[in-house]
């Protein structure tokens, strides 16, 4: 159905926009990229399957050579670089986030926060750290030390995903496909 | 203006048609036969005009009654509608799907069954016909707002429909662009059904239907209905401050 295709495509575009728009500073002055927030929202708003496809479409287009990753990165080189784990983890993170929102019966805001936390932070970092460990030839623990600085920011992002999903559910209840 | 369009013989027929959203009636009891070449649908915002367009186009199915286009149901017979009904929405950014002009124009043609090569040729011919061959490889983002409007019109014309429905096509356009669009529309051989809240747009039309609260308030020759409509709108504008909440 057309709505599936357009929702998936528009949210893939949203991930790109949240990575490319430079003016978003997330926590009082600290400029963090909002791109993973976009990945979280794919899952929490569109649900597991569509969120997965949206993030997958995004990753696919990066592979095809579009500079959609934050910082204007893109192309096949990304998949040989240390951040490859995060990029490959995007669709799975979205899936897990969406799965949690779909299956829990908690209020949408809380469910979205939980989904964003487990999918968008825990699962994403699992993939990201593994990728980093492989490319840099370090142990998993060593690689995880490299990313600890980003974790607090991403925890806050999960909270934001909760608020935003809740807000969207109020404004466009029919469009939040994770809770039809 | 006589044209040998075999498709427009039957026309559009509504019989007791109604449309509800979540139980709330937006359009009620419409019985109309639309065969004229230039038809205007006029009404205030919220009168049901846009729902009327979607009903006739088959984008929504009627909640009551029937809607027929050339004897077919537009909501179910989508493939047949491609050559019968074309739609021009208000905002080009909500209609243009592809990033380049050629891809956008070829899309509808491929939908009709043409293969890649045929569609490409047809696009070249269409652009040449309208003196815009140099638009072929252009990115949509490089076109001005008026040019994007025209691109949407071209995309509709590429499908060669018998009838074109237009939803407030002049909204937000500057005067030169409005004039250009008016001229382009006037030259079209297709039946045009133009939905608007601005009486100037449908001044010379064959038939005007005034919709109010989802019902036909007036239906007939353009002149008198436009005069009544303009007077009523002036009266409403002076009467109150529109503070009542309707929901």
């Amino acid at each position: 159905m057309e709505k599936n295709v357009t929702y998936i495509a528009l949210f893939a575009a949203l991930i790109a926009v949240l990575g490319l728009v430079p003016q978003i500073s997330l926590a009082s002055g600290v400029p963090i990229t909002a791109q993973s927030l976009g990945v979280m929202l794919c899952g929490t708003v569109l649900g597991a399957k569509r969120g997965f496809l949206a993030a997958l479409l995004f990753v696919g287009l990066v592979a095809l050579g579009l500079p959609l990753l934050s910082g204007g990165r893109g192309g096949l080189g990304v998949f040989a670089s240390p951040t490859v784990g995060f990029v490959i983890g995007f669709p799975i993170a979205a899936f897990v986030a969406g799965f949690i929102v779909e299956k829990t019966r908690a209020a949408i805001g809380v469910a979205a926060f939980g989904g964003a936390l487990i999918g968008g932070v825990l699962v994403l970092y699992l993939f990201g750290i593994t990728g980093m460990a492989l490319i840099l030839g370090k142990s998993w623990v060593a690689a995880s030390l490299l990313v600890t600085a980003y974790i607090p920011g991403d925890l806050i992002k999960a909270g934001m995903a909760g608020f935003i999903t809740q807000g969207l559910a109020k404004l466009r209840p029919d469009a939040v496909l994770s809770r039809p | 203006m006589s044209t040998p369009l075999s498709q427009s013989i039957d026309g559009i027929a509504l019989q007791g048609a109604g449309f509800d959203i979540v139980g709330k009636p937006i359009l009620s009891n419409l019985t109309l036969t639309l065969t004229e070449q230039r038809i205007g649908i006029i009404g205030r915002n919220g009168s049901g005009k846009s729902s009327f367009l979607r009903l006739v186009a088959g984008l929504v199915a009627p909640s009551h009654g029937t809607v027929l286009v050339d004897g077919l149901k537009p909501a179910t017979d989508r493939k047949a509608m491609l050559s019968r009904i074309g739609i021009l929405f208000q905002n080009p950014d909500h209609q243009i799907i592809f990033p380049t002009v050629t891809e956008e124009l070829a899309f509808g043609l491929r939908q009709k069954g043409m293969d890649k090569a045929e569609a490409a040729q047809a696009v070249v011919a269409l652009l040449a016909q309208h003196g815009r061959s140099h638009w072929a490889a252009q990115a949509v983002t490089a076109l001005s707002q008026g040019q994007r409007h025209f691109l949407c019109l071209l995309a509709v014309l590429a499908m060669e429909p018998g009838t074109i429905l237009l939803d407030e096509p002049f909204a937000g356009l500057d005067l030169p662009t409005q004039n250009r669009l008016t001229r382009a529309l006037a030259a079209l051989p297709q039946r045009l059904i133009l939905i608007t809240h601005d009486p100037k747009a449908i001044a010379g039309y064959d038939r005007v239907i005034w919709l109010e609260d989802g019902r036909v308030r007036a239906d007939g020759a353009a002149g008198p209905i436009i005069a009544d409509f303009t007077a009523e709108m002036a009266r409403l504008g002076e009467a109150d401050a529109d503070t009542d909440l309707t929901f």
């Binding site: 495509a9 790109a16 579009l66 080189g77 670089s81 840099l136 935003i164 | 939908q111």
Partner: protein
């Protein structure tokens, strides 16, 4: 929408996309398995030569695309400098650079339409799972079309924010931006249905 394909024409541009991707896959696996430093230097030198042979502008562009890797090179340098395992560090860092450079070479010499063609052909067996090739083509086109549109709207929202607040734009703007994505998705779905659906 700008892609990472280099505008400087090179002989590699004429090689078929599928062949380049296959070659990249083979070379990448080989590179990963490579242990001997001298062979590695040879390979690295070859890659650099190919870049330079394609033109100075091209090579400069290629070097710019390697820039995001420098923090990792620094980390590797510090790490291996600390432990004294220089040779290992150089190999890891070097392999990373060459692997990325090779992959970027394909990206820079292949047009987006050709890449999309490869993907569509590769995805055709998925048609039985419900993925019509038309859906994929439209989905890709929509992302390319709407990323700049959403960015413009995000920019306008930012301006509307700054017109009413002395404070910097913060995360709350993601809500209306997401709203625009949702609304655009609805309207474009309708526009597609109006033109025959997918």
């Amino acid at each position: 929408m700008l892609t990472l394909t280099s505008p400087f024409e090179t002989p590699l541009h004429r090689v078929a996309a599928g062949r380049k991707l296959l070659g990249l896959a083979v070379l990448s696996i080989g590179l990963f398995a490579l242990q001997d430093p001298w062979t590695f230097f040879l390979v690295g030198g070859l890659v650099a030569t190919v870049y330079l042979a394609c033109g100075l502008g091209f090579a400069r562009f290629g070097a710019a695309m390697l820039r995001p890797l420098w923090p990792f090179l620094v980390i590797l340098g510090l790490w291996h400098g600390w432990t004294g395992a220089w040779a290992v560090g150089l190999m890891i860092g070097g392999k990373m650079l060459v692997a990325v450079a090779l992959a970027n070479l394909v990206t820079m010499t292949t047009r987006l339409e050709d890449m999309i063609d490869v993907v569509e052909r590769a995805a055709s067996p998925l048609a039985r799972f419900g993925l019509q090739p038309k859906m994929l083509a439209v989905a890709i086109a929509l992302v390319i079309r709407f990323t700049p549109v959403l960015m413009d709207k995000a920019g306008q929202l930012g301006q509307a924010w700054r017109a009413r607040s002395a404070r910097r734009v913060n995360w709350r703007i993601v809500l209306p931006i997401s709203l625009m994505a949702l609304d655009d998705a609805e309207r474009v779905a309708e526009a597609i249905r109006a033109r025959g659906g997918i």
